[in-house]
């Protein structure tokens, strides 16, 4: 099995910020925590999901709560291990490996702590192929995999195992516990067999993150265009280039919502792009034209350095390239769109795959 080193985590975290599509929590804290665990415990083995036995048990782990709380109340580092072990004990059989819930943002690196502390491998894959804000927004949900039993633990040593009737209920009940735990806790969720991982998860995304991170770093070192490097590594498209103008933000029902206006430059000169976000970038429009929507990925990179820009970091005057990349095909099914399509987030916009939107515009 390939070993992930402290240095490789720099590349993985950079790639995770690209697929974080502007949200997914502060990758800085996540990276520091994972690197700390690796320094203490040694490298983490990356397990190819295709090497899982069908009846192996896999338990994904993640941070859940408000990213703004986590930058103040930093985890102890033990809660994620407690959550994992609580669920393992409840399940009554040994767990072969852990896995990331999201390939974007902070949670792509959180499970490295569990893997390093317990000396188990990390599966090369995730359950979204990007970052999304709610627990039920996972590809296994679409195949009927249940999120529960799940375990949740805080830094004080409290833990709970919950069972729910649907993955939507898991989100609701876990959210309530999280508030009492101080709005930041760690979870072990979606226990799956090796067969389920292979059939319902998005595979090889940790390797993808690393490749994106390496591509940006190397392009910068060679003074090549990092934007072109990213589109190459992700099958993505540059849908806009411009300068950030107005950024309107408001906090609503626990989510950071808002809209950024990007004044076009070069071929986009004279027009504005409006990018709406709710934690993540969700919809990109110019006038009446829709350029991209969720569940396809919309991400913003510094036009010069290729460094990903989060919704909190967005500010006036940034020169950015706006990229869109195709999402996992399962999100494009009617069942997938019901969970993460534009309609779920309150946009009355039909979903059209990004490849088709680009083809139609250039035709």
């Amino acid at each position: 099995m390939r070993q992930i080193t402290v240095e490789a985590l720099d590349d993985i975290a950079r790639g995770a910020a690209v697929l974080g599509t502007g949200g997914g929590g502060d990758p800085y804290i996540g990276k520091l925590m994972a690197q700390g665990a690796l320094r203490r415990r040694g490298n983490v083995a990356l397990l190819d999901p295709l090497d899982l036995d069908d009846d192996d048990l896999v338990v994904p782990t993640a941070m859940m709560g408000a990213p703004t709380v986590m930058v103040e109340k930093i985890p102890s580092g033990k809660e994620i291990v407690i959550a994992f072990q609580a669920l393992e004990k409840y399940l009554g059989r040994p767990v072969r490996a852990t896995m990331s819930c999201e390939a974007g943002g902070l949670n792509s690196t959180t499970p490295f702590t569990v893997a390093a502390e317990l000396g188990i491998p990390l599966v090369d894959g995730d359950m979204m192929g990007r970052a999304f804000p709610e627990l039920q927004m996972a590809t296994p949900t679409l195949s009927g995999v249940t999120a529960t039993p799940m375990a949740i633990a805080d830094e004080k040593g409290n833990s709970a195992v919950i069972n729910t009737v649907s993955n939507r209920w898991t989100e609701t009940l876990a959210r309530t516990l999280i508030v009492d735990m101080g709005c930041s806790a760690m979870i072990a969720i979606y226990p799956m067999t090796g067969k389920q991982v292979k059939e319902t998860c998005v595979l090889h995304t940790i390797t993808l993150l690393e490749r994106i991170g390496i591509t940006i770093r190397e392009a910068r070192q060679r003074h090549e265009d990092p934007i072109a490097a990213v589109t190459g590594a992700t099958d993505g498209y540059v849908i806009w280039r411009g300068k950030v103008g107005d950024v309107a933000r408001r906090t609503e029902t626990g989510f950071a919502r808002g809209e950024a206006v990007i004044a076009g430059v070069d071929e986009f000169d004279g027009r504005d792009l409006r990018v709406a976000f709710q934690n993540e970038f969700l919809v990109a429009r110019s006038g009446d034209d829709v350029l991209a929507t969720t569940p396809d990925l919309i991400t913003m990179l510094d036009d010069e350095t290729g460094e990903p820009i989060t919704t909190e970091g967005l500010r006036y005057g940034f020169r950015v390239a706006v990229l869109s990349m195709p999402c996992d095909p399962r999100w494009r099914t009617p069942a997938g769109l019901q969970v993460v399509g534009p309609g779920y987030f309150g946009y009355d916009i039909p979903y059209v795959p990004i490849e088709q939107r680009v083809r139609e515009r250039t035709a």
Binding site: G36, E155, K156, R315
Partner: protein, 518 residues
Amino acid sequence: MSRRIGIDVGGTNTDAVLMDGLSVVSKIKTPTTEDVTSGITTALRHVLASSGTATTDIAGVMIGTTHFTNAVVERRRLEPTATVRLGLPATAALPPMVDWPEDLAQVVGRSTFMVHGGHEFDGREIAPLDPEEIRDVARQIADRGITAVAVSSVFSPVNSGMEEEAGAIIAGVIPAAQVTLSSDIGRVGLLERENAAILNACLRPLAQQTISAFRQAIAELGITAPLYLTQNDGTLMSADYAEQYPVLTFASGPTNSMRGAAFLSGLTDAMVVDVGGTTSDVGALNNGFPREASVAVDIGGVRTNFRMPDVYSFGLGGGSLVQHEPLQIGPRSVGYRITEQALVFGGHTLTTTDIAVAAGVAEIGDASLVRQLDPLLVRESMARIKQMTDAAVDRMKTSAEPVPVIVVGGGSILIAFDVAGASELVKPEHFEAANAVGAAIAQISGEVDRVYSLASMSRDEAVADAKAEATARAVAAGADADSVQIVDVEDVPLAYLPGNATRIRVKAVGDLALAATA
């Protein structure tokens, strides 16, 4: 008479201006000296003598300095510091100084301690403070002979009580301790706020030494007027306060330049290009104040979350090296050695200043010494200087609309062209001393940051109370009551607290009320 002296102590030059009311009476640029104070004394003597001002007519001396920033950047003269964080059982995954560059951590030492305490976002305690645990840590700190201590606590911007209690316990065990509380300095974001507190703690001995040298320099000349230092938001703090919070002087240099540019040009909304010897800073003025950066700011490799002016620095200055084939301007510079090394001064290094003289846009040194320069090289270099400036201004502009561009700083002789996107190019009188002018005109602020219970008063009443208190504090700190304005109001409702509480932060700013000391 309301005469006052503004001094900007940069890494290369010390600038001073003597102002009478709103006009600049005299000014000087002199090299910054190793001991800092003799440069200040030279500058003070000059502005007093050349304007014929009696020392008794001086009502205030305002100093802006990069001295403390430089100490961090150069890892020099920093005091070994202990850090005590209240937050266990939370936060253990990332101990204090976890993200510090190793060389700086070595100098400051990694004497870090984590103890129980801290608050949740809603004000509940994560764990109770344990006085005996803190006393034990304090004894360990005392055993290591450390007296500089930084104290941080989770969510201390919401409730600073535990930091205050812990600070008092430590001071009880270590009588010589100088304790910095993170809640006195920064905002939400534990690592960043804690980092700022540690930087402040390790700078305090240097601050006491430097500021007492400032005081002495002023006293030796017979000036009895109060001494102020400028802070990162462009307002003043008393010398006594600055001794306790040297970290608040960070980034006051660019702020002073931009405030000075606004004052000298009479413009309140514009772009400012401050061209120094090695680098240029570009920033935007909104309502006469610099626009603030919204992201984490690195100081000497340490992440902090101060409110800093949003400034873009690029490697163009009056001393920048010019190389040809391929053409390259900066980022290397001859810096303060320009008067020995530039061609126009008889040296052997081709600099941007030589190019400007050869192009006929500046008259400095001996123009005959650059007459042999290839005209094509001169033309291409000037084009490159324009290109670099245009790109930097465009990067910092907030709209496509043309805006006025104010050019200040000693190196601004280079900017002899129309900057792209500028509605007009303004090079105000005294442009080279804008930073010192910014210090001289700096205002006084008063701040309130308090949690109000809304059980017995309305939110509006609470905000009005905070505004009145902030105004009173600004006046008490020396602001002219008629000029005080409320510049910032922030209120954050705190959920789950008994009695429905809200945290209100108000900042009031006014002109310094100047009275002659005799």
